[in-house]
């Protein structure tokens, strides 16, 4: 049912129970030879008009389904032959068919001599051709005959239909002769025109006018000409997109009889994949160009080397850093050659060149992630980081760290300077403690001797001078001792331990017992925390603060000092929440104006005249230094004639490393 056939021709429709039809009987009728086809049971399947004529059968005698034996019997009847002879001939004929092709001449009932050729097919069917003995058949005729006979075979047509491609044959006049179902399928826009004898040009023109073909903006006439040109010069495959989007490849070949045979293949999937590949490759190209842009816009230089240390790729910065010409340094160049080239450009100081070559090319180094520093002749410092890649080869990045290096140098210099000045400060502390005190002690001692031994003989003015001298000496001793205490906060620090502030205050109370008694002072505190601290410094801190409060008391009022503590947690960005104790020490003394509150913690800064209130101006500076050493903060809040409050925030816990100090 897949195959079309013409309805014309005298041949009985050879459609059998399978309904098979062949398109070729019309043509078979046109040729000057008889053709008949028998099935493996040797029953007649089909035949052409000429067969009937040449064999001399009457219309009523010949019909499909007739057995070859019967046919032989009919054709030999009326030739005065014995029944046995006829039967023998039938037997011989059918038996010989088993062995292959038969060719013999035969005299028909109406006196013609014909040549009969019986050709058994591999499937058991038999094709019989007959022609006049006199007639010399041309080669092309014979080949056409065989060609047609072959095509006539039902199974062949089935086979044609079974192939996935469209198949078509045009005769020498460019008319459709053979085609299969797929051919129709691949020409949906002209399916109504496709029938044997249809002209190629007609089908093409109609197809174009029905927009069956996609042109590239060409006119219908141009498309037609182009297609005809292709059709007339077959041999080269070409592709065409159908209106429905499908792609087909058309391959035509000239046949020996001057016609054209063509194969049409649906290549839509292939084409889509091809387009996909083209798209992906386009994307890849874009990605690669993005990568190039990224590489070339990096601040660092970058190189990639293969396992043999040949350059795979490098970016612009790399070449610019070392002044390499892009023509010279390109993929494939050996790292050692690049280094030699770099040396030849004078990138390295002579004494460093050999070293640089060695360091950069050390195979041991290339196997691990390493960083080396290159000191270039022009003063630049490069950090070259080499990282091995999986499967051999390495990636190297080059960074200009000149600025960093300079900063580090400067930092080192500052550090050294700082260490030196710290050391000098400590030495000063020692000098202050010993060498300065030594002459001072003498001044005091001999002054004392002078007063004791010769005081009586001194005039009154002389006594005053000596007294002032001794007062000055005493002050100087005070200053030196306080200064020493201040510098010892850091130089003589003890590791932190758990310190109970209650114990500390009790200790200070007993130390200051005399002053408390003299002033009638009171220290009030209830619960004070235990925290990580240096016990000696805590005592020093509170002793300074309390004696300060007693010193700056109001003349007529007994000094009262209140010490309290509260939990004061603070959010710190680097450490999360840090717990502090906020300790407040409030007095009822003369207070101070808050505008001076920063001054009071500054060394040698005083708010009052020396004669009014004694002291060196070092006490509160020492307090601040102690609190800061404990990672805390000290602040003060004063109101003149009301009192002062010192606020100290100290961490509940200190870093463990501080313990090991």
């Amino acid at each position: 049912m897949n195959t079309r056939t013409s309805n014309s021709g005298v041949t009985p429709d050879p459609a059998d129970s399978d309904g098979q039809k062949t398109p070729d009987w019309e043509m078979l009728n046109a040729i000057d030879a008889g053709v008949a086809v028998f099935d493996p049971e040797l029953n007649l399947v089909s035949f052409n008009r000429k067969y009937k004529e040449l064999c001399g059968y009457h219309d009523s005698e010949l019909r499909e389904g007739l057995n070859l034996r019967e046919l032989i019997r009919i054709s030999m009847s009326g030739q005065s032959l014995e029944h046995d002879e006829i039967e023998q001939a039938i037997k011989t004929s059918t038996t010989r068919l088993l062995h292959g092709k038969q060719n013999f001449n035969f005299r028909t009932r109406n006196g013609n001599t014909i040549t009969i050729s019986r050709n058994p097919r591999p499937d058991g069917s038999v094709v019989e051709t007959v022609h006049n003995l006199h007639l010399e058949l041309g080669n092309s005729d014979v080949s056409a005959l065989e060609h047609i006979a072959r095509l006539a075979h039902t199974r062949m047509m089935l086979a044609l239909d079974a192939i996935g491609d469209g198949f078509v044959v045009y005769d020498a006049n460019d008319c459709l002769t053979v085609y299969n179902q797929q051919f129709v399928e691949l020409n949906p826009h002209i399916s109504d025109l496709i029938k044997p004898g249809a002209h190629y040009a007609t089908m093409l023109r109609t197809g174009i006018s029905r927009n069956g073909l996609r042109g590239n903006g060409q006119s219908e006439e141009e498309i037609f000409e182009q297609e005809m040109e292709r059709h007339r010069n077959p041999g080269v495959a070409y592709e065409r997109q159908l209106q429905d989007g499908r792609w087909i490849r058309i391959m035509e070949k000239p046949t020996e009889d001057g016609g054209t045979a063509g194969i049409r293949t649906d290549i839509t999937e292939l084409k889509n994949r091809e387009l996909e590949v083209a798209k992906i490759s386009g994307e890849l190209t874009a990605t690669s160009s993005h990568l190039d842009t990224a590489l070339n816009n990096m601040v660092q230089g970058l190189c990639m080397f293969d396992a043999e240390q040949r350059l795979i790729l490098c970016n612009r910065q790399y070449r610019e850093m070392y002044g390499f010409s892009p023509e010279k340094v390109k993929p494939g160049m050996l790292l050692s050659d690049i280094m030699k080239y770099s040396i030849s450009l004078g990138n390295y100081r002579d004494e460093d060149a050999e070293l640089a070559l060695k360091a950069r090319h050390n195979p041991n180094r290339l196997a691990h992630r390493t960083t080396i520093k290159q000191y270039l002749r022009d003063g630049r410092v490069m950090a070259v980081m080499n990282q091995p890649m999986e499967g051999g080869g390495s990636i190297a990045t080059y960074q200009d760290i000149t600025k960093l290096e300079r900063h580090e140098e400067r930092l080192r210099a500052y550090n050294n300077q700082l260490a030196r000045s710290n050391k000098e400060l400590q030495e000063f502390a020692y000098v202050a403690s010993h060498d300065l005190q030594e002459p001072l002690r003498k001044i005091e001692a001999f002054g004392d001797r002078l007063v004791k031994k010769h005081g009586e003989s001194l005039p009154d003015e002389g006594k005053v001078f000596v007294e002032r001298m001794q007062n000055a000496s005493f002050r100087m001793r005070e200053l030196i001792n306080d200064l020493l205490g201040y510098s010892r906060v850091t130089t003589n620090a003890k590791p932190f331990e758990k310190v109970s502030l209650c114990h500390v205050i009790e200790g200070v109370k007993s130390d200051l017992q005399i002053q408390l008694q003299e002033t009638g002072g009171e220290i009030a505190f209830d619960e004070l925390p235990t925290l990580d601290a240096d016990p000696i410094q805590m005592r020093q801190l509170f002793q300074n603060l309390i004696s300060n409060a007693l010193k700056f008391r109001k003349p007529d009022i007994k000094p009262v000092i209140n010490i309290s503590a509260e939990d004061h947690s603070v959010k710190s960005t680097s450490k999360g929440e840090v717990r502090y104790w906020r300790i407040k020490l409030a007095d009822n003394g003369i207070g101070f104006d808050n505008q001076y509150k920063d001054q009071i913690f500054t060394i040698f800064q005083r708010l009052h005249g020396r004669l009014e209130y004694g002291g060196t101006g070092i006490g509160l500076a020492t307090c601040r230094k102690i609190v800061e050493r404990h990672n805390g903060v000290i602040d003060a809040d004063g109101t003149p004639d009301v009192g002062a409050t010192f606020i100290i925030d100290l961490p509940v816990e200190q870093e463990k490393s501080e313990y090991l100090q």
């Binding site: 403690s433 010993h434 005190q437 030594e438 002690r441 003498k442 005091e444 001692a445 001999f446 004392d448 001797r449 004791k452 001793r477 001792n481 020493l484």
Partner: protein, 149 residues
């Protein structure tokens, strides 16, 4: 007080002023013991070992007590102290270290110097006299006891 008075006192100090003050204080406290002075650690060792300028002092007995200033030129007090403590003939002599300040005393205590006492050089002369008296009570009289026995 006769036997105690023979105990010889050696003062090693490079400071002339202190020497003068100490000598005055000894006089003031009526301490009659013989007092010798050396100006540096080298001289101290020569004195004790009867070498150099002290080669001819063979019959002079060793001091019953040494007052030692640690900061002296040439050989300092620390080195001299070490040598004295390592010398079997000298190691039993009591040594009292003279310091300038209380804080210096704190620092010196942290070293294992093997000294018998520290004395801070007092600021006033009266205090110095007191110190000399204490010195006599605690050391010279105690040192004299074995001599009596």
């Amino acid at each position: 007080m006769s036997r105690n008075d023979t105990v010889r006192i050696l003062i090693a100090d490079d400071d002339e002023d202190d020497l003068m003050l100490i000598a005055d204080a000894f006089k003031e406290s009526r301490l009659m013991n013989p007092i010798d002075f050396v100006k540096d650690g080298e001289e101290l060792m020569h004195y004790l070992r009867k070498e150099g300028q002290y080669a001819d002092t063979g019959d002079v007995p060793l001091p019953g007590i040494i007052l030692l200033d640690l900061n002296m030129p040439k050989k300092d007090g620390r080195t001299a102290l070490k040598e004295i403590r390592e010398d079997p003939k000298l190691r039993n002599i009591p040594i009292v270290v003279l310091t300038t300040s209380k804080s210096e005393e704190d620092i010196l205590k942290t070293y294992d110097l093997g000294v018998n006492s520290f004395i801070t050089k007092p600021v006033t002369f009266d205090r110095l006299v007191d110190v000399v008296k204490v010195l006599r009570q605690y050391w010279i009289e105690i040192v004299a006891i074995p001599a009596n026995a």
